[in-house]
């Protein structure tokens, strides 16, 4: 039927972009280079793209803390919270304002709409409070403005340091060691904020016995003044010699050790001095006023029960925004390992209690393996449905499409996270379609009547061009369903953003890959059959139908 037409038009007229692409790349030596380049870019993106478990959600907000000593909650509400709330209403982009009026202090928290630019939001908040400093009521302290900074606030790795069982490491010694490690960890590239939780600092504690105080007729104020008067640091002073040279001298801090504190003379009583140690116990200890302590119970390698409670110091490490959590975490672990020998000597053990870098890596790797399994399954299915050469061609197109998608995501500043990979998994079922449709049409043309009269190249271009229009429309339809999802707001919208961002890219890439590489690879891999076999396809179709029917 259509044979006569084919014979008439030897020179096929290209009507769709699909044919143009196929023709342009079919004999071009650069096509192979382009393919290799795409795969390389994908590989690079895969290895260098920042990995994280969940996508970043731009949550911006901040707190304004205003202290007013001695005020009751109702007073704070009226003179601090309410005016501040009213002023903050003027800021654009704030979704909710939360006010808290307590004894002595008022706090106003603001939450911006999800997706508002974080730097701008922080500036706007600061700006608004500063503009209104003149209307601050009298007697309040300088307001504190604390923006939430998720990247810096949420540590990606936390390490607990604790004295090993049976080892007697003092709290202060532990702190000093951890402080030293902290310095080195902060030096790791892209590490932002490090903090210590549960740290106990060295302190000279002067605990006064009230009974003795009254016996000696002393007041606490006197003791305070006595200590302050000796514990002073002053800079050196300069003097000059007769011949004009500098002589530098200075007063040393009178307190060198805890004994010096005990020997401070508090007062004279009947001519004899009263030392501080007479009225108070002076010790070199830890900060007793700090109630924020931390404990740990852990399992050691050869013990399956939890150890007893031990005090610990947790070091939290956060990374800079947009950097790769996996690399930062690895570097931090390396620094810790360097200290292993010193830790052993002191009897300090450490335990990594949180590692988002590792978690992100695991999540990403697990999904990558899912992706590969799925590709293999689809390839196997295609072997049965189309033949192994055809299946090979379609299977090649998948990594190429994923490479383009990943590279685009990398270039647009996205990170590789669970949702990105789910988007890829979701699009996997969709993106082989274009390649399948092209290869199926090529397959059909190769087994059609009159194939002997045609050049292989012309046939491939024609086969690709034919299905261009319906394939474009069908793919466009799927892309259109994804586009509105990009406008979904709120937490969930931000969380799911990688889907509307990446699925359309993958689908568009699938079209280009199908039009460029499928004919190119077909030219290399497929051959015209010896004689046109019309029934081949039909029998396969039956097979397919049976498969479907048996489901």
């Amino acid at each position: 039927m259509e044979n006569n037409k084919e014979q008439v038009s030897k020179e096929y007229k290209i009507i769709n972009v699909a044919g143009t692409l196929a023709k342009g790349f079919l004999k071009n030596p650069l096509t192979a280079v382009l393919g290799a380049f795409l795969l390389l870019m994908g590989y690079l993106a895969l290895n260098t793209m920042p990995r994280e478990e969940d996508p970043q959600i731009a949550i911006s907000g901040g707190a304004v803390v205003v202290a007013m000593p001695g005020a009751t909650p109702k007073e704070i509400e009226n003179i601090i919270v309410k005016p501040l709330e009213r002023k903050l209403r003027e800021v654009h982009g704030i979704e909710h304002i939360y006010g808290m009026a307590m004894d002595n202090v008022g706090i106003v928290n603001v939450m911006y709409y999800i997706g508002e630019n974080r730097e701008d939001s922080n500036l706007k908040l600061y700006d608004k409070v500063m503009q209104n400093m003149d209307s601050m009521p009298k007697g309040v302290m300088q307001p504190l403005i604390k923006p939430f900074d998720i990247d810096i606030d949420i540590p990606i790795i936390t390490v607990a340091f604790y004295p090993k069982a049976g080892k007697n490491v003092g709290d202060v010694k532990l702190f000093e060691m951890v402080r030293e490690v902290q310095q080195h960890i902060n030096a790791v590239e892209y590490v932002a904020k490090t903090t210590l939780k549960g740290a106990r600092r060295a302190q000279y504690n002067i605990e006064v016995d009230m009974g003795k105080l009254s016996a000696y007729h002393l007041s606490l104020g006197q003791i305070m003044q006595a200590v302050q008067s000796v514990a002073v640091d002053v800079p050196d002073v300069k003097g000059k010699t007769n011949d004009g040279r500098l002589v530098i001298f200075g007063v040393k801090n009178a307190i060198e050790s805890v004994e010096d504190v005990g020997s401070v003379i508090v007062a004279q009583y009947m001519g004899s001095p009263i030392y501080l140690r007479d009225v108070a116990s002076v010790t070199h200890g830890i900060d007793i006023q700090n109630f924020q302590t931390a404990k740990i119970l852990s399992k050691s390698e050869h013990n399956s029960t939890l150890s007893d409670e031990a005090s610990q110091i947790t070091m939290t490490v956060a990374k800079l925004a947009g950097t790769n959590a996996v690399f930062v975490a690895e570097d931090v672990v390396k620094v810790l390992e360097e200290y292993q020998r010193e830790f052993d000597e002191l009897g300090i053990g450490y335990l990594i209690t949180r590692n988002y870098g590792e978690r992100a890596n695991e999540a990403v790797n697990e999904l990558m393996s899912h992706l590969i399994i799925t590709i293999v399954i689809i390839a196997l299915m295609l072997v049965f449905a189309l033949g192994w050469r055809e299946s090979l061609i379609v299977t090649f197109s998948v990594p190429a499409i994923l490479a383009v998608t990943l590279f685009t995501a990398w270039m647009t500043g996205q990170t590789m996270n669970r949702i990105t990979l789910f988007a890829l998994l979701l699009s996997l079922g969709l993106l082989v379609d274009a390649a399948i449709i092209v290869i199926e049409n090529i397959h059909r043309h190769l087994h059609a009547h009159g194939v002997e009269d045609k050049e292989m190249e012309a046939l491939l271009i024609e086969a690709t061009d034919e299905i261009g229009a319906p394939t474009n429309i069908a793919t466009l339809a799927i892309i259109l369903t994804m586009v509105p999802m990009a406008f979904v707001g709120g937490m969930m919208g931000s969380f799911m953003k990688p889907i509307p961002y990446n699925v359309p890219v993958a689908l568009i890439a699938s079209l280009f890959v199908a039009y460029i590489f499928t004919p190119y690879l077909s030219l290399k891999l497929l051959k015209k059959p010896e004689h046109g076999d019309n029934h081949h396809k039909e029998s396969e179709m039956k097979k397919e139908e049976k498969k479907e029917g048996s489901k």
Binding site: R89, A294, I296, L306, M492
Partner: protein, 576 residues
């Protein structure tokens, strides 16, 4: 192939059979929709996911000491210690655990009082552990709360699991807004009571501080002045004596930080025998101040002691006073307990208040209470995960409708016919049957409830595109058969359906296989199931229902067109 072709042709040829197909499809559609009100399929924004960690927040009532908090925490840890699957436990007293996403919205970073502690628990790797973390929490929660909460009256112990999606303050947040502070407190207590009695809700807490006894020292101004002291001096000495102060520091070569010198009374001197005015009075009488003339004045001489109750904290949200009541769900969707609790509340408030319900919005469960006596207004607002869910479902619904409109416009441009575009759209909409039934079936195979989630909706939206493509290819093919080959309408539709069955099935199998691994994920399971079952439904719809509609549509009557470009269309000789 012939079988399918004649099967479809037979249906198209008989009015009865065509009606039967339409009626069956409509019945399937409504039956599947009925699965929502009958609770055969339950909806939730995101299901829980098994994690390698969870945390426990311990809040003793405001004004409790660190020792009391420690006692409760030790009790909790005592329970945790018995668990085999726990790798390590960290206790942070008087502060939050290193900030995580859950803590971020729950205000963990603001904690720095003696009445709070947080416990972080790391479990063995989830891949090698039989019990998911959420079941573990569910199992331990009642035992721990029963044993440890009574240790200090008014204690609250909350179990915080890693959110599988974006974090929220709590699953259920009830805001009680109003001007009368004591009244909103009462209402909040009522709400909290109702939530506690609702099945499926746990960790109920009123987000307000408790009041506690405290003592006010009122300086007697005249006495202060006459004894040559100042009020500031009184304040300072009091603070120095009982809280202590860093009075000086020393720089040290060997220490990483400055060494502070901290002055305070020793423990024996500080301790009061009892918490009452008399023992405070006697303690203050032995604390002396030195006046300007160098004479000692006992502190108790210049102040009067009074016992008062502490002040409540006042909370505002969006400039109106309110109190929060929060609750977590115990392995169930928050929607159903919420509706149940709301009904109970409405009944409870009926007597004293005139109730006005909110209109249709994402705050649709709110209601306003007007006191029958005082005419005071109170607003009961449902926020938290419910609000986020409604917002998300509203937005996704909007996205879905926009997707439908966009595809419809695309098809109208392509076919230049509203009727044909309508057929395609209707066909794709019916894949909803598969999505809902799929969730119902998936629920059989999972031990926990398989919820219809936000990701299911995303899957459904993607399905619209996929199934509209099926119909599109079918219509395209039938059209060209009629135009180019001059085949009669019914035969052409039957042939088209039979021929397109292979690519439709092939791509469907690709999607099903591609989504198979998605279905196992707790968060994206909904998307996987929606894609798998929806695709199956879409195949049936496009091969049976769409041909029937095509046959009934006038717009599908095409005559043989001499300008038909045969090359552009598929080779129909395959099926002949």
């Amino acid at each position: 192939m012939k079988n399918l072709e004649s099967f479809i042709y037979n249906i198209l040829n008989s009015k009865m059979k065509k009606k039967l197909v339409i009626v069956l499809t409509a019945a399937a559609f409504f039956l599947s929709l009925m699965m929502f009100p009958t609770k055969m399929v339950l909806a939730k924004m995101l299901p829980g996911k098994s994690a390698n960690t969870f945390s426990i927040y311990v809040d003793t009532p405001a004004g409790s000491s660190i020792d009391q908090t420690k006692k409760v925490s030790a009790c909790v840890i005592g329970f945790l210690k018995k668990e085999q699957e726990i790798m390590n436990i960290e206790l942070f007293l008087g502060q939050g655990i290193p900030l995580d996403y859950a803590g971020l919205v729950k205000g963990a970073s603001m904690k720095r009082t003696e009445n709070v502690s947080e416990i972080s628990v790391n479990l063995t790797d989830k891949h090698h552990r039989a019990e998911p973390s959420f079941l573990m929490v569910q199992r331990m929660r009642p035992a721990i709360q029963e044993a440890c909460v009574p240790l200090v009256r008014g204690t609250n112990i909350k179990f915080i699991e890693q959110p599988s999606g974006p974090p929220t303050l709590a699953s259920i947040v009830v805001e009680v807004h109003g001007e009368n502070l004591s009244k909103i407190r009462e209402l909040a207590v009522d709400v909290a009571d109702t939530l506690s009695n609702t099945e499926g809700l746990v960790d109920i807490d009123i987000m307000a501080d408790e009041n506690f006894e405290k003592f006010e020292l009122i300086p007697d101004k005249e006495k202060v002045a006459r004894s040559g002291l100042s009020v500031k001096q009184v304040n300072n000495i009091l603070y120095l004596a009982f809280e202590g102060m860093v009075i000086a520091h020393k720089n040290s070569k060997n220490s990483p930080d400055q060494i502070n010198m901290f002055l305070v009374l020793d423990n024996d001197s500080k301790k009061l025998s009892k918490s009452n005015v008399d023992s405070l009075q006697s303690k203050l009488s032995s604390l002396n101040l030195m006046n300007m003339r160098g004479m000692m004045v006992p502190l108790s001489e210049v102040v009067n002691i009074r016992k008062v109750m502490s002040n409540y904290m006042i909370m505002h949200k969006d400039l109106s006073r309110m109190t929060n009541v929060i609750a977590e769900t115990d392995m169930v969707s928050q929607v159903y307990p919420l509706l149940e609790a709301r009904d109970v509340l409405l009944e409870k408030f009926e007597k004293d208040y005139i109730i006005e319900k909110a209109g249709f919005s994402t705050y649709m469960f709110d209601f306003t209470l007007i006191d029958r006596k005082t005419q005071e207004k109170f607003l009961i607002r449902w926020d938290g995960e419910m609000k986020v869910t409604l917002d998300t479902f509203r937005d996704l619904g909007g996205a879905f409708i926009s997707a439908l409109i966009l595809i419809f416009l695309l098809l109208v441009i392509y076919y230049k016919s509203f009727a044909i575009s309508g057929i395609v759209l209707l066909g794709s909409f019916l894949s909803l049957i598969g999505v809902i039934v799929g969730h119902w079936v998936a629920n059989w195979f999972t031990t926990e409830t398989f919820f219809l989630t936000a990701t299911s909706l995303i899957g459904f939206i993607a399905l619209i595109g996929i199934s509209s493509r099926n119909s599109l290819l079918l219509i395209d093919f039938a059209k060209s058969l009629m135009e180019c080959e001059g085949i009669k309408k019914r035969r052409a539709i039957a042939v088209a359906a039979a021929t397109r069955a292979k690519p439709i099935a092939l791509t469907a199998v690709a999607i099903i296989l591609g989504s198979a691994l998605l279905a196992g994920d707790p968060v994206f399971g909904g998307l996987g199931v929606a894609l798998i079952s929806g695709t199956v439904a879409a195949v049936f719809v496009s091969l049976l229902f769409v041909p029937v509609l095509m046959d009934n549509a006038k717009a599908m009557d095409f005559d043989k067109n001499p300008h038909c470009d045969v090359e552009d269309k598929n080779n129909i000789s395959i099926t002949k």
